[in-house]
């Protein structure tokens, strides 16, 4: 099963830089997780997105915010694990590298090409 792991900050809120120890720990942690195949993807969600809209047969393409509101998602990681408990343990290790704060995780009810073959 896959989990979407992310954190949010509010616009204008002060973000803390990582610590050198956390940085070194995190890069090692992520490298191992990549090698173990735990990580499906990691990235950041930009503030600006492209909106493709269909209305009465006419398409319009425009730029707009990712989600309305003042929270932004500076970083996310999609992981593939065998259980929710395993995901929680993994997220705990990740948060330890980052220091105090919250990480959120959401199980993805996603269908991939592999599922259709079954």
């Amino acid at each position: 099963m896959q989990f979407f792991v992310y954190f949010t900050i509010s616009e204008g809120q002060k973000m803390n830089p990582p610590t050198p120890e956390g940085m070194a720990k995190m890069s090692k942690f992520m490298e191992d997780a990549f090698n173990a195949g735990t990580i499906v993807a990691t990235g950041r969600l930009p503030r600006e997105t492209t909106h493709v809209r269909l209305e009465d047969g006419e398409f319009s393409v425009s730029d707009g915010p990712f989600i309305e509101g003042k929270d932004i998602i500076p970083g996310f990681t999609v992981i593939s694990v065998d259980s929710k408990q395993e995901a929680i343990e993994w997220v705990k290790s990740m948060r330890e590298c980052m220091g105090n704060g919250t990480l959120r995780m959401a199980q993805l009810a996603a269908t991939g090409p592999e599922d259709l073959k079954r």
Binding site: E11, G12, Q13, P17, M23, S27, M30, G43, R44, P74
Partner: protein, 413 residues
Amino acid sequence: MQLNINDDISRIYKFESGRVLATLIRILGDFHRAEEAMQEAFSIALEKWPEEGIPKNPYSWLVSAGKFKAIDAIRRAKRGRELMEENALLATENVADADDPDFDLLEDDQLRLIFFCCHPALPLDSRIALALRDVCAMRTEEIARAYLLPTETIKKRISRAKALFRDKNIPYEIPPKSEMAGRLNAVLHVIYLIFNEGYAATAGDNHLRKELTDEAIFLCRKLVALTPAPEGMGLLALLLIQEARRESRVTDDGDLIALEAQDRTRWDRDLINEGISFIQQAIMSGRLGPYTLQAAIASVHAVADSLENTQWDLIVGYYDMLLKIQPSPIIALNRAIAVGMKDGPAAGIALIDALARDVRLKSHHLTYAARADFLKRLNSNDDAIKNYKKAIEFCQSGSERRYLEKQLAEILK
């Protein structure tokens, strides 16, 4: 109305000309010919669009206009070899647009153009001129103005690059995986230098300086969007965090303001946050490079509310990491300064004295400026004066010298 459409066309030039040129080079197989075709396509646009309106997909319009102009030119030349080229050209299907499965090629085209312009076989100043002109769509005159150089000089740098492309038969391609890391570093270095020129320059007005820092950020954003290399994100983070503080570090007269005297409320919080999130993402990739570490150092300064309340232990830690992957006397000196801020002036001076035995630091103004600063904090004014004088003697930059002279004058008062 007329004015508006010209604004729109300038904007389109800014954002599309790099993509148009990149695609034309692929179609025409020739850098010089593609450039001419691109310029002609834009002149037709300037004539037609004010009357006919801006086409739905300006990029496709410009590429096909450029392509047909190139075919015209080949027809006019009417030589056998080129007639063959014409036939080959006419056979190429129309260009990629967003609905096309070929759309991915477009991103490759742009990436190829960036790597081509920053090719390590070219002299550094030619790489910079080409990248600004062909990727950032700056005119030759604008580049010259921003660098305070005659237009002729920039023209020469560009034509030298073109001659080298021809003579050395440099392929127009995305570098193979085996060369990727080195080639990417060459691109990052060009972006870094463009930014620094705008950031450090104190001659010329603020507007010109901002032009260069903006272009460097534009180029770096483009690179990061095209290829997710961690050091690209690290560099982008560094540029954003520096840019956030750029305006508060210089007076209207072009004099430097010391970090401790800067108005930190003027720092752009959103740019700093964006920078930090790029640092986070660079770390997430599992590899740490020098740009990411420099960005991390900048970020610690950027979130502190004063010089005293800066987390100097973090900064020392980052310098330790940086020294491990990129040993350099200047980085060691900066680390010594951070240690002095963390553990007190005496600790800083002891480290600087040890480092000053290195010949490269013996004649560097920063060695004496830093020592003078710590001596002043210890109230050893006579020694501080001696060191400020030494620093002024070795200083190459006008604005830094003026800053040091001001410090010296203050003690002498």
